[in-house]
Assembly symmetry: C2
Amino acid sequence: MSEKERKIQKISLAEVAQAAGVSKMTASRVLRGEGGYSENTRAKVMAKVDLLGYVPNRLATVFAGDTNSTFVGVSIPDLGNEVFAQVLEGIDRKLGSHGYQTVLGLTQHTIEEEEAWIRTVLSWQPAGLILTGRSHSRRALDMLRTAGLPIVEIWDLNSSPLDVSVGISHYDSGFEMGRYLVGLGYRALGYVGTSHDTANAATARLEGFSKAVIDGGGSVVRQFCLHDTASFYPGFYGTEQLLASGAAVDCIYFQNDSMAFGGMQYCQKAAIEIPDDIGIAGWGDMPVASVLQRRLTTLHVSHLRLGQTSAEAMVARISGETYPTAKNIGFHLVPGATTKRNVL
Amino acid sequence: MSEKERKIQKISLAEVAQAAGVSKMTASRVLRGEGGYSENTRAKVMAKVDLLGYVPNRLATVFAGDTNSTFVGVSIPDLGNEVFAQVLEGIDRKLGSHGYQTVLGLTQHTIEEEEAWIRTVLSWQPAGLILTGRSHSRRALDMLRTAGLPIVEIWDLNSSPLDVSVGISHYDSGFEMGRYLVGLGYRALGYVGTSHDTANAATARLEGFSKAVIDGGGSVVRQFCLHDTASFYPGFYGTEQLLASGAAVDCIYFQNDSMAFGGMQYCQKAAIEIPDDIGIAGWGDMPVASVLQRRLTTLHVSHLRLGQTSAEAMVARISGETYPTAKNIGFHLVPGATTKRNVL
DNA sequence: TTGAAAGCGATACCAA
DNA sequence: TTGGTATCGCTTTCAA
């Protein structure tokens, strides 16, 4: 079976209709259950559908009809990051329960990949697009405008999105952590993250964090790991570098929990006691955060719910309903045992 | 914009052709780059394509032509399980690099969900299907046979698959762990997992494990957590129940690493020393396994590679190439510090 | 190198 | 309640 050969011969609606002795239109009405036919006719048609194993060609349906497809394009940066996997799970389940199918696009955190994927997915006439992130290439923006589809931008809340936005304020989440740590008495804060070419959610968190720390009379020393994913090892080595630089740091805020775990591992290796010698804080509240002997101080976001809410927003927009421009799903800080107990 | 309204007016090939002063066919040839036109013509057409922002309607292309779509349906049990997220990542990246798009289906480990999803996705004329798992409903099998598409069954290697199979032998992986633990001197083994309605990979692992243990003169006490996902908490409570049952167990084999982490957490709470009082072994080698203070004894599978290989198999099958019926991607046991050191 | 016409499988619209 | 016919955007086929 070569790609060039004719596709497998399938049963068409016309064949079902002929077998049942009715017109295509009548068969079509029966299959759509839109009424306008007798019970007798219905039975005849359905009998042939079962007999012939008829599977409708939805491509033709969308093509001929005046509806869009039931595809929803979903772009996700990467699935190695547990939180995005959860978001996707929430999206796909909810979308599926409304009769839509997810067409996945992994963008590797670059707007170029996103642009290429948008171009492709738009050619399939999707019902809408759910995009992770709020920055898009110029050409991507042009295409999206021209397509005129419902667009849900998720992750970092956007007060002036293309269409609607669902997520949390990453700036605020960083700010809250900064304020919390300052409140515990920390002043010499460190930050360990990966480097970003473009403005993104982690950058927003760092900005909020720095603002809160500086407002509280503290300072932040930053350590970026170049060209790396925000995972365990960069957290380990980033911590090593930060501490080797001689910076006097009493607590480190990490880009996410995975990196924080790496940092904790380094501290253990270097015989640095947590939280006595140094405090550790993460972001995301990964399920395994509770595996550790010490509960990690972090910030909890319901990623599954973020996904579900995004899908609900999409379904609403497809149906032409209005939906809040910016839907904040909220977060809460999780005080753990990797930072000092509340001073008072 | 209601669902019932006409779809957004888009630019069609005919409009591009007219603007360029050529026929539809000529424009079509230029866009496909199949040759048979002058450079001058090509330039004229492409200029109008850019000017008008033409996006081809691939639905119409597939519909009119004799090719299938570039969709590949991919069914995954769930994404809460980190290993499946990695598999999906590998699949989508590789598929994307070959010009195919992933249409996702989350089956929640049930063949009923899978059947419903297969029915839907087939109606979109996909180029092929990648299915996680080897058991399918009767009706699903009928549909797959009728569709006559390339099918790649992944995860548990299948010597007589529908089409081709990519994965590892879960039976063998369980057997190897059983043999290893017996080799360390353990004889009273426990197993903690979730309950399964259907035969699945975890069941195969347990069977292989039990065989090896019994061959080695040991025995296995099983503890199943009903109706639960194979994650941290069931591991915790399953361990508690197993030990509370009074079973004398010197080592516990868990369905996967997440459950093993839960078990370790319980042991810590109950002041049971690992590995002095009890040994712990998992499956899957999750990245965080190396986060723990003690390296978990587990079994490593390259999930990303499993995904990539599956996608390569799919691409090969779509092109009509032959591909090994069963492609074993292998695994290796990771001796950790949660079990005794080698006795000798 | 180019173009005209038929047709893919369904639905919309109008007529009976 | 039913059916005929045009049509969606593109490719195939055949002719020029």
